[in-house]
Amino acid sequence: MTFSRTDRRIEKGGRDMPRYLVERMFPDGLDIPVTEEGAAAVLGVVSRNTEQSVIWLHSYVSDDKRRTFCIYDGPNPEAIRRAAACNDLPIERIIKVSVLDPYFYQ
């Protein structure tokens, strides 16, 4: 079934979207077990992100698991916030970033 939601995502495209680093704080620590339950939680986030045209690329988690740095592609900061709200995730700050590849400078 091709309803409009997917079309809208394709229209906007993923390539030209800005990239954001989203810093999150989890005072009680974050632990997603490598189990089916954990996988389901993560995939749930991914699918709700899709509704806001937001793509979660990956995250870095601090050793104490209280802070995450998540890399996202999204149309604008508001979409990042809407996606976070849908997933009940906190946001400490959003920073617009671009990639610097050290090996590009040979």
Partner: protein, 876 residues
Amino acid sequence: MTDLLERDAFIAALDGLLADAGTGDGRLVLIGGDAGIGKTALIDAFCQSHASTTRVLAGACDALSTPRPLGPLLDISRQAGGELQRLLTTGANREPIFGALLNELGQHSQPIIVVIEDIHWADDATVDLIRFLARRLSGLRALVIATYRDVEIGPHHPFRLCLGDLATSRSVRRIVLPPLSEEAVRVLAGSSSLDPSALHRQTGGNPFFVAEILASGEPGMPATVRDAVLARIARLGSDARAALDVAAVLGFRSESWLLTDLLGSGAAALDACVVAGVLRPEPGGFAFRHELARDAVLDAISPVLRCALHRRALEALRLTADDPDALARLAHHADMAGDREAVLAYAPAAARRAVELQAHREAAAQYARALRWSREWEPAVRAPLLEGFAYHSYLTDRHTEAVDAWTQALAIWRRVGNPLKEGEILRLLSRPLWYLGRSSDAEASISASLSVLEPLPRGVELGWAWSDLSRLRMLAGESEAAVVWGKQAFLLGERLGDAGLQAHALNNVGCARLELGDEGGSDDLERGLAIALAANLDEHAGRSYANLVSMALISFQLARAEHWGEEGSAFTLDHDVETYRLCLMSQRPVQLFLQGRWSEAVDLASTLLSRADLSPLYRLLALTVLGRVRARRGDPEAAAALDAALALAGPTVDLSRRVPVFMARIEAAWLTGDHACAEAEINAACVIAGELNDPWLKGELAYWRWQVGSSAKPPSGIAKPYAQQLAGDWARSAASWESLGCPYEAALALADSGDEAALQRALAEFNQLGARPMAAAVTQRLRRLGALGIARGPRPTTRANPARLTAREMEVWDLLAEGLRNAEIANRLSVSTKTVDHHVSAVLAKLGVRTRTEAAHARALHAPSHRQSGELAHAT
């Protein structure tokens, strides 16, 4: 199950929507796809499978150069009969016609399917009809199916704008039909000698193209659909070919009587066309199997023959000239036949009919058609055509064309010597001139109008000239002059009993008085509204609501803005006053922003910005709010939004809209700690603000100067909360902001104190709002004071409000969950039942539920007392 390949999932989706409709929860489904992709075939198969239980009413938009206004509804009315047909054939106005359709759809216990095909060709009135239906579907047992070719709907197509509107509606679904797979093409090719992969490649999986190639029986593969159609037709006899030519000239559909009339004994060949699969029989006539087939046939007719056929069609159709809805068709054939007399008779008549149905674009096109055939040396014929064209171009925002045509009409009336007309047109000209940014030309035009009209007996033309002059003065910031001219216009309107003139003039006077700080302006605006409502002048009422809201916002009367905004939105929605509905919607982000409802503010602002038809002025408002929220949250791209806003804040924009852009830029710079940049923006603001009257903007500007450390004495006449702040009375200032309902501004006042308790309150508020830069600044101040127990930002709880309902919608949801009926909710909240209806629909839509019971059930799940934890947190 149907015979169609790869379409079962779509049929099943339609079945589901029909079932929804059957429960009284009507649906509109938009089916998009390329020409020949099988939209009609899908609908035919679907309707066929429900033929025994469900009534179908079908109509199509036509591909005439200027379509018949409400063409699809004319088709439908013939099937429905009754009041609807009576109204349409007697040339009634739009409102009763739409109402009759609603009655027709509402009176059956069985669901009804309404099909409107090819809305990419829709006239303005049909676009409005679809919008009208979409908004009234809940409670109707109707499934409305509309088809369109996506490639033909560009960003400025009138239906694109409508699509944007409908996208958020709970009742609307979209289906886009994909091409067939190679597998399906293989099945269709069957025993044909053609290579299925090559056939799939050549046709792109387009079912119509595949069928045409297979039917053409050519050994090679025709390169285009047209070639395939022509190859198929080439195998028919010359009689059949002649019959097809006539049918193609008449249109996609043609009536049997008309074909028989034109073809004589040749009509027998129509059967051969049906057998060959080019035409298909319909009740009362024939239709091409596809518009692509008609196109191919029409293009292959020689110009001479085509002209002759149009001439014969015109002669045959003249018999129907007393039918108001045959006029567009007659004008089309007259134009194509090159019959000047007939064009000049039918095109203006078709234009007048389009005006009755409010199809302004089509009206302008018919006037333009007549103008092309009129002669320079017949001014009496040309002048009214030019005026009609100019007026409807102006109404559809084509201001350059309007200026050009009115200028030509003006020259004619001057030559003929009709000063009343001359004065009226000079006045009208000032409007598009102003919209084009030519304000001095607009001024000159209205002055010329007055010097022509003032020596004449005082009529309504003079009153309107005064009122338009008043509006121009108001827009130029010359409020005193605006009041003087507006009052004069109002008194004349009162004497002549012209409600429209009175309402227009009172709007100007009210806004101008408020700009001068005279509270009596509110009474003028409310009186203007009452006059417009009493006289059923929907546009004037819409303008009053828009002005009431914008004037309330300028002076931070948020509750008042909310009240008029709610009432105005409900009114403009019910009366389909689109311009002012959009205007009211565009002001709402400003109100939400000031109330600290930032998420709602930016959501609405983003929705508005995605509309192609949003005027630069409203774009500016939305961008300013977006930029300010980003800056206050410490989010990236605040500068990008505010740069875009600045680019729109040119000198033609009035100061009350222009100055806030600079305020936003000052604030954004200040929040990032860049005081040099903030000072530069302050200087830029001072240059354009000049002799600013408004106490609120004056106050804000003084506040920022004070924040960056200016020692200049604050000016007099600034609004109270700013004055209190600048006098060092942060406590009173905070209280003033609180009573205005502006939480951020209140916290900002507290943040300037050296008092620990006040700073803690400010911090709590900033944390609550998600205002990171200010929260950080206040935390630092508290640390310097050596405060203990500084709160960290609370994690905003969103689960209690999963669907991002507005505060008002939350209230309505709560009351609904208590089992209250809409009228009771209305009583409880002191708003109209209609307003509650709108809120309830919004709540159901946002929650994605169908019924109140489901909504109430969902409320129990999300009760704040036992708030659900997030899934991710749950996994820990």
